[in-house]
Symmetry: C2
Subunit: 263 residues, 2 copies
């Protein structure tokens, strides 16, 4: 099996420009990343037990389009993908960001067609699994079914977490939480990366967090002024996390007063 990107997505941008085999300083990192969530094991399981179609995607490519007939699930082997919900009146809203090991297209199972556009943010490899074939494989390999259910369950929980942050955090705190979550997503639940490259515009972040692009910009500027993060590179899309503890503290401190305690 050939992997387009060997491991940690921290090096993704470097890899896309020059074909550096991701390792050297990463010995510890890769070792840390793998065991926590078993993503690698899942990918191996899938590759071993299923006929999969590997697709190389580039930034802007649509993995599966809203409204199209549901047939495949997709697993991200490398890269990053945004999930965009298309409202009735053409309104577009970013409802999720997915990375290596995440599944796409789960929303299509019930209605029989996908609800969301999923668009690559970056060069990467996505595996298409025919849903019927997946079910067959699951019958033979219960671990595979267990894994599928875990991923669906995680997706449900993720949605709820997003609701929580929308409801209980002030706008700047939501941005801080977004930055932290992005960093965490790239490393698994270990310690976050200290450098992340946002691959979305301020407008998209705002759409995800329920605020305007101006508010996103102001919040990021504030976090930088306070020394929690820093900008690097051009375009202000690369963010250095300078003080993770302070960031976390800021998020907690800016939880809105328990607006309405439920009992």
């Amino acid at each position: 099996m050939h992997l387009v990107h060997a491991s940690s997505a921290s090096n993704v941008h470097r890899l896309s420009t020059r074909p550096v085999p991701a390792r050297v300083d990463g010995g510890g990192a890769t070792a840390l990343v793998q065991p926590a969530d078993g993503t690698a094991e899942m990918l191996r399981l899938i590759a071993d037990r299923l006929p999969i179609r590997r697709t190389l995607v580039h930034a802007g490519d649509t993995v599966c389009g809203a409204g199209r007939h549901f047939e495949n699930l997709y697993v991200i082997n490398s890269g990053a993908v945004k999930v965009v919900n298309i409202g009735a009146d053409g309104q577009e809203q970013l409802v999720g960001l997915q990375f290596r090991g995440d599944w796409l297209g789960l929303d299509g199972i019930a209605p029989g067609s996908y609800c969301c556009d999923t668009v690559a943010l970056d060069t990467g490899e996505v595996w298409a699994l025919h849903y019927g074939a997946l079910l067959l494989a699951c019958a033979a390999h219960p671990r595979l079914l267990a894994r599928l259910h875990m991923e669906m369950s995680r997706e449900i929980t993720r949605g709820r977490d997003a609701m929580l942050s929308l409801c209980t955090l002030s706008a700047p705190a939501r941005v801080a939480a977004f930055v932290r979550q992005w960093a965490e997503s790239l490393t698994g639940l270990g310690r976050p990366l200290e450098e992340i490259t946002l691959r979305v515009t301020r407008a998209e972040i705002g759409s995800h967090l329920g605020m305007t692009l101006e508010s996103v910009s102001r919040a990021l500027s504030f976090l930088a002024r306070s020394g929690m993060i820093d900008f690097a590179g051009a375009g202000r899309r690369v963010i250095l996390i300078r003080d993770l503890a302070a960031l976390t503290g800021f998020i907690r401190a800016n939880a809105l007063a328990p607006r309405s305690a439920v009992r």
Copy 2:
């Protein structure tokens, strides 16, 4: 003037006592699948193929508590249940409302313990399905597995819809959408009930919609002043939908300006 969900109560009895005649009653194709969504069919499938434990719950009873070891999934046969997320600092947030045919406990699959409290709002019957037993039954009955996946998929979509309404609607519009959604949930996707009984406090609604209880109250008062809804009974917990079209129009009219168009 207290009606306790006449429709769902009658269905309960039909379901548990006699099997529903599938096709003979003159309706043609639609008679096959009882309501549009096949909830009744699913319940029959479960009851036929699985060892289930039926539990009668009353308002305030906890179906499954956050943090407890995951073992069962639950299906609501009748009644209404609220899903409450418990934050780190004891913050409680209402993240969902579930009715007949909805599944509970799906969030527990991935972590191995439930993430949310689920609390009955009303007298009803909940079925507990042992997860292991469910998987076994699914192996023998693919339709059951398909159904489970559909329900998980729906749950994912529901979370995204909630995010959408949080991000794109003004506070009063969110309340209007909440009322409409509650009514729709009780009838299946046909036309909503014209009379619904809210079984939660304003504070809980506010927690669900990301606003204060005062804003909820003001919004409901406004909807009533405008003639879209009306209050009935005592405590202002019973709501009559007077003009569904106007309600829907109000929701659309109060979609926030496309704050940040994606792309």
